[in-house]
Amino acid sequence: VFDTLTPPRSEGCPSPLALGEYAASELAHDSHAQMAAHLSSCPRCREALRDLDDPSYLGSPQAKALRAELARRGGARPRGYAWLGAAAAAAAALLLFARSPGGEPDGARAKGADDSITVHVLHAGRVRRGGDGDEVMPGDALRFATTSARLCAFALYGYDARGRLDSYAQIDRLEPGREVALPSAVRLDDTPGEERFTAVFCDAPPDAHALTEAIRAGAGRLAGFPGCRVRSLVLHKAVAP
């Protein structure tokens, strides 16, 4: 049965996963540009991309019911940093990651007005506060949290020395006045150089395409974006020993 199937993918066309990563701005700069060029000349892949992100699903009764259930269940469990559990010898480090009694994260803050992002670094099983300009190593894991001054839409992007732009978080309604731990951690690869993280706090969900293109145009630097307040954090990744 396997070999009788029609080949699902034409020569030169991206995989469904790669299309999804393109749509989510998770591809490196070069790969993103290559994909954009391919899409401009391949109607089949353009159709596949449209199909992939067809928003009609979100209007279905099942999707609405599930969304309501997720809203009910989200954040119901105690906050912590479970990703540490995936790392060896992280149990002790977990204590270091606990929030302070006042609710303030004890990681470095990239601050402007009251919007901030914080980062913690897991290195060799130990957690430390990350700070703007800090040195990190390949294989380190980063965990971000953010606080906003007022209700806003939030997004966080990372841009590495190779020109790869990653989208780490997109939250359309970030409630003000409390720290929100972002859902995924970042494992650093072995590309040495600057890792620039850009957080935007916007009055309304920004145009993701325009925003990512602006970050790319500035090689990871974003001075400003209409309707958004921008905060950034730079880490320096050393060469693996």
Binding site: V1, F2, D3, T4, L5, T6, P7, P8, R9, S15, P16, L17, G20, E21, A23, A24, E26, L52, D53, D54, P55, S56, Y57, L58, Q62, A63, L66, R67, E69, L70, A71, R73, G74, G75, A76, R77, P78, R79, G80, Y81, A82, W83, G85, A86, A141, S167, A169, Q170, I171, D172, R173, L174, E175, V180, A181, L182, P183, S184, A185, R187
Partner: protein, 164 residues
């Protein structure tokens, strides 16, 4: 950790439609695809650490959806057997789809992990061994070995059918 309601909602709106599309493609029925979306997102609420330390959120949803679909296919096959034993019609409707897809789903339902995953990535998605390796966390060479095992399993099944 937990995932806040706002984070979950953002993940659902950006990845929910893709999870649904993929599940419908693999399973063939909207009702099953809706249940897979539910499995994936409620599973994320229960075990948010699953998202951690992945190269990308898209890759996590992609593999999680594949696992959930294969589990459902395996369960559906078991249910179909029970219904058949009771003399009731199964839920699958082969009239709706080409024979090859129906046969493929039947084969996927019988393949144990990670062969089922390898079969989906290779024969349904058309991914290369290099693309599959990071999804399974193994080498390209190991992926090649697994694909050969899938093919050998398929030949064995064909031989069984032809001798019946």
């Amino acid at each position: 950790m937990s995932v806040s309601a706002a984070e979950l909602d953002a993940l659902f709106r950006s990845h929910g439609p893709r999870v649904f599309r993929r599940a419908r493609r693999l399973l063939g029925r909207d009702a099953d695809a809706h249940e897979v979306v539910q499995d994936v997102f409620l599973g994320l609420v229960e075990r948010p650490g699953q998202l951690e330390l992945r190269d990308g959120v898209s890759a996590w949803f992609y593999t999680a959806t594949t696992h959930a679909c294969l589990n459902r296919l395996r369960n559906m096959r078991g249910r179909a057997r029970i219904l058949a034993a009771r003399g009731q019609p199964s839920e699958a409707d082969p009239q709706l789809e080409p024979d090859a897809l129906v046969q493929l789903r039947d084969a996927l339902a019988q393949l144990p992990p990670p062969l089922g995953e390898v079969a989906v990535y290779t024969f349904v998605d058309g991914m290369t061994q290099e693309e599959i390796a990071p999804l399974l966390g193994c080498s390209r060479r190991q992926v090649g070995v697994l694909i050969e095992r899938v093919r050998a399993w398929g030949r064995e099944q064909e031989a069984r059918c032809s001798t019946r």
